[in-house]
């Protein structure tokens, strides 16, 4: 075998002694093969890959195990010897391309650095070699881009530079650690297709580390499923997804949103989807909403003549990629920002009459609330869960804060004893529940859900989505669900709006938009999402 990892165990020294990060991990990789390592956060998938490269974080230690790479026993190599391996034999593509690039050096020079470190080029030939490497990752006008700084490039372009860096010295193994997390779905497709094409044409082997089963299914020859530092199952995508042997693999597949299933099918055991509330009169009306930033020639139109209605009890999905204006739209509806022109009406009365800066004291503040994208960042690090939930109760209502807080905790399924913990002491799912409880505190009629599950693992996402469906059935709340993921939106929403460059390009019934999109952009979005085949398990 080209790469063989056997009995790998890595531990980290922490204050409470050694903590095992991975135990007895074994997998192998043939020449030219693409291996997917799949698992949720904390499953040890990244640590396993870092152990191969010997780039563990401070305190991390290889406890035991054999890492054999093309006849070399890497686990016996010293750091000095590994330096010749890294970049030349094995290289890596990291999750956040912006963080992986030096912000104050031109990208061309950064590629030159790698080439010269491994003596692939002379000082005089470095520039042309770097440009060649950029051309290989399909960067337009590489001579011009050579002089760019990372901040001048988009996320997808930066990731291409990182790939160019990784492939500059023709390594034989490429490790990609969540290479497309944080990128838009269409960019994700471009980047993943590029990695697949380059590794195939150069006969390289690759390891793709991802939390996304769909991505692994589409791009990998074989998949290793990890959980809590151990390998639970290995197999080909077809075998694994159609006949998963392990209970955890089954649960993971079940929780992944895919075509042809309902929201209740995500959880184990499957359940009946909760009732959707009856749809009533228009609750919120958005009329010709426009928002521009900047002045004169530098004017950027973020939201351009957007109009739509949300009816009471309805769930509307607002879908688009980053920069399409969906967040700007939602913050204007939330009255955190003022529109440049246009009107927002609640129950037929204008909301935009009160400027955003004075809306905190408007009695209608209670009616509009929001669940934020990153639950952890949306909670004050110095507030306990109880304080966070009680804050809107004290500010906006006359209810008894303590009693109401515990009632809300019960509604969102947060154990009362966790209420006195701080955000960093709670898990991602628990923080999401705190965020939802806080948003519900003032008994809002419209709740904006701004990618509430984007930062969560799929199994937690499944639970949170079901919680949101339950709350809607119990409280009859109207949702505006903002997301980049059509498959997630479909599960919760009756109607979908697709936004692109500040405009709504498609609007319609959720099932219809998914099965029969009329706008080409919607089709592109749907195609780009790597989804699992329609499975029934």
């Amino acid at each position: 075998m080209f790469l063989e990892v056997d009995h790998l165990a890595v531990s980290f020294a922490t204050r409470r002694g050694k903590v095992a990060a991975v135990r007895d991990v074994r997998f192998s990789l043939a020449k030219g093969e693409t291996l997917g390592i799949v698992g949720e956060s904390g499953s040890g998938k990244s640590v396993s890959a870092y152990a191969i490269m010997q780039i563990l974080d401070r305190g991390g230690q290889l406890e035991s195990g054999r890492i054999q790479f093309d006849g070399m026993e890497l686990n016996r190599y010293t750091n000095r010897e590994m330096r010749d391996i890294r970049g030349r034999e094995i290289s890596m593509v990291f999750q956040n391309p912006r963080a992986a690039l030096n912000p104050i050096r031109k990208v061309g020079h950064q590629i030159e650095d790698v080439l010269r470190r491994h003596a692939r080029t002379s000082a005089s030939g470095a520039k042309s070699a770097a440009i060649e490497a950029m051309r290989a990752v399909h960067i337009n006008q590489p001579e011009k881009r050579y002089h760019s700084y990372p901040f001048e490039l988009s996320g997808g372009m930066s990731q291409r530079i990182v790939i160019a860096l990784a492939l500059a010295c023709d390594p034989r193994l490429l490790i990609a650690d969540e290479p497309t997390t944080g990128l838009d779905v269409t960019t994700q497709k471009v980047v993943m297709d590029l990695i697949a094409e380059l590794t195939r044409s150069r006969g390289m082997s690759s390891i793709l580390i991802t939390h996304d089963l769909g991505l692994a299914a589409r791009y990998c020859d074989r998949i290793v499923v990890m959980k809590s530092g151990e390998v639970v199952e290995t197999g080909t995508p077809d075998g694994l997804f159609h006949a998963p042997a392990n209970a955890y693999t089954k649960r993971l597949i079940r929780a992944t949103p895919r075509g042809g299933i309902g929201i209740g099918d995500l959880v184990d055991p499957p359940r009946q989807a909760p009732q959707r509330p009856a749809i009533g009169a228009p609750l919120l009306q958005v009329r010709d909403l426009r928002k521009t930033f900047g002045k004169g020639v530098n004017t950027v139109t973020a939201v351009d003549a957007v109009s739509f209605d949300i009816h009471a009890g309805e769930s509307l999905g607002l879908v688009g990629e980053s920069g399409c204006g969906k967040s700007t739209t939602s913050s204007m509806i939330m009255r955190l920002a003022d529109p440049t022109s246009g009107e927002i009406l609640l129950d037929g009365r204008s909301l935009t009459d009160t400027p955003a800066s004075r809306f905190a004291r408007d009695p209608r503040r209670t009616s509009l609330q929001m669940v934020f994208q990153d639950a952890l960042a949306s909670l004050n690090p110095r507030f306990t869960a109880r304080q966070s939930i009680a804050d809107p109760i004290r500010r906006l209502t006359r209810e008894n804060a303590d009693g109401r807080t515990e009632e809300l905790a019960g509604q969102v399924g947060l154990p009362v004893e966790l209420l006195d913990r701080f955000p960093h002491q709670l898990s991602g799912g628990q923080n999401a529940r705190v965020g939802i409880a806080r948003a519900l505190a003032s008994r809002p009629r419209l709740l904006i859900l701004d990618e509430p599950t984007a930062a969560l693992d799929v199994s937690i996402q499944a639970i949170v989505l079901n919680l949101l469906a339950d709350l809607r059935a119990d409280l009859g709340i109207t949702y505006l669900f903002v997301s980049h993921d059509l498959h997630v939106v479909r599960l919760l929403c009756d109607r979908i709006l697709v936004m692109k460059k500040g405009r709504i390009v498609e609007e319609g019934d959720a099932q219809r938009v998914m099965s029969n999109p009329t706008h080409e952009y919607t089709r592109t979005l749907l195609d780009a999402v790597p989804s699992l085949p329609n499975l029934k398990i």
Partner: protein, 296 residues
């Protein structure tokens, strides 16, 4: 506020215990921090209990015992008027510490308020405070302090004001930067949606989160403020003889170093050095304690 406190009690003990446990861990990890905390405790102890510790009256002169080198009776020797140096160094601790604590507290309160407002609202508030701070920073700071004391008059209060003014820009800048990075963060937006006014958001949501870096700044600044107060006294501004104060004592003793009576300047200088050293080390230790990355 009352209902807020009703929530607090069950949390507070656990929180204090956790912080203590964390502090013990950091100190154990880095013995230098332990030394800093020990020195800090010693300095505070000397400042509080100073009058009980001294063997002689620090102001009592005795011409027959002038310029005696350190001995068992006079541990640090005596000065040109026969006063016991040990007693004077001990008594001076309280005054020096008081000046610097008051100055730093004043600088912190005013600077943090200015910086927070500038960071949160931006616009003209930012421009006005920014230019004000630039103006202060444009002067050589010690010369500015000299000028302030010379203009306002030679009193302890004026030394405090002068020291506070020259330290103010540091707090204003740290506060502005720390508030600014949190101004549009998720939890601030959430607080806005919860019906909090701007002032409440700034005071109760953002400002407490900026305290850890400010604490470090305070500790590092303390040493500097002490040095500054002593420096002003050294050149004859501020505290006047015969009040025991380290700066004056060093200034007075400096004349005698040439003729071999080194102890006059040495011991107050040593006290000054140890104090500044302790506060600087404490700053490093505090940074480790408040740094969340150390909390794993």
């Amino acid at each position: 506020m009352a209902d807020r406190q009703s929530v607090a009690p069950p949390i507070a003990p656990a929180r204090t215990r956790r912080l203590l446990g964390h502090a013990v861990y950091v100190i154990g990890d880095n013995p230098i921090t332990a030394i800093a905390f020990a020195l800090f405790a010693l300095i505070i102890g000397v400042a509080v209990f100073g009058p009980l510790l001294i063997p002689f009256d620090p102001l009592e002169t005795n011409a027959s015992r002038a310029l005696m080198p350190p001995s068992l009776d006079n541990w640090f020797g005596t000065d040109n008027l026969g006063r016991d140096l040990f007693s004077r160094v001990i008594i001076a601790t309280r005054l020096d510490l008081m000046i610097s604590v008051a100055a730093v507290a004043l600088a912190f309160v005013v600077g943090a308020a200015m910086g927070s407002a500038a960071g949160y609202w931006g616009g003209w508030i930012d421009i006005v405070t920014g230019r004000l701070i630039d103006t202060i920073m444009a002067f050589p700071l010690f010369v500015l302090a000299m000028g302030i004391v010379a203009a306002l008059g030679n009193t302890v209060e004026n030394i405090i004001y002068a020291t506070a003014i020259i330290n103010l820009p540091f707090y204003a800048r740290v506060a502005r930067a720390e508030v600014r990075i949190r101004r549009d963060s998720g939890f601030v937006q959430a607080a806005r949606l919860s019906g909090n006014s701007d002032l409440r958001i700034l005071a109760l949501h953002i400002f407490p989160n900026t305290l850890p870096p400010m604490m470090v700044q305070i500790s590092l600044n303390m040493g500097w403020a002490i040095l500054n107060a002593a420096g002003l006294s050294f050149i004859g501004l501020g505290v006047r003889p015969p009040t025991p104060e380290w700066g004056i004592m060093v200034a007075e003793g400096a004349n005698f170093v040439v003729s071999g009576e080194w102890w006059l300047a040495f011991f107050p200088g040593l006290a000054l050095m140890i104090t500044v050293f302790a506060f600087n080390l404490l700053g490093d230790g505090l940074r480790d304690i408040v740094d969340p990355r150390q909390r794993t």
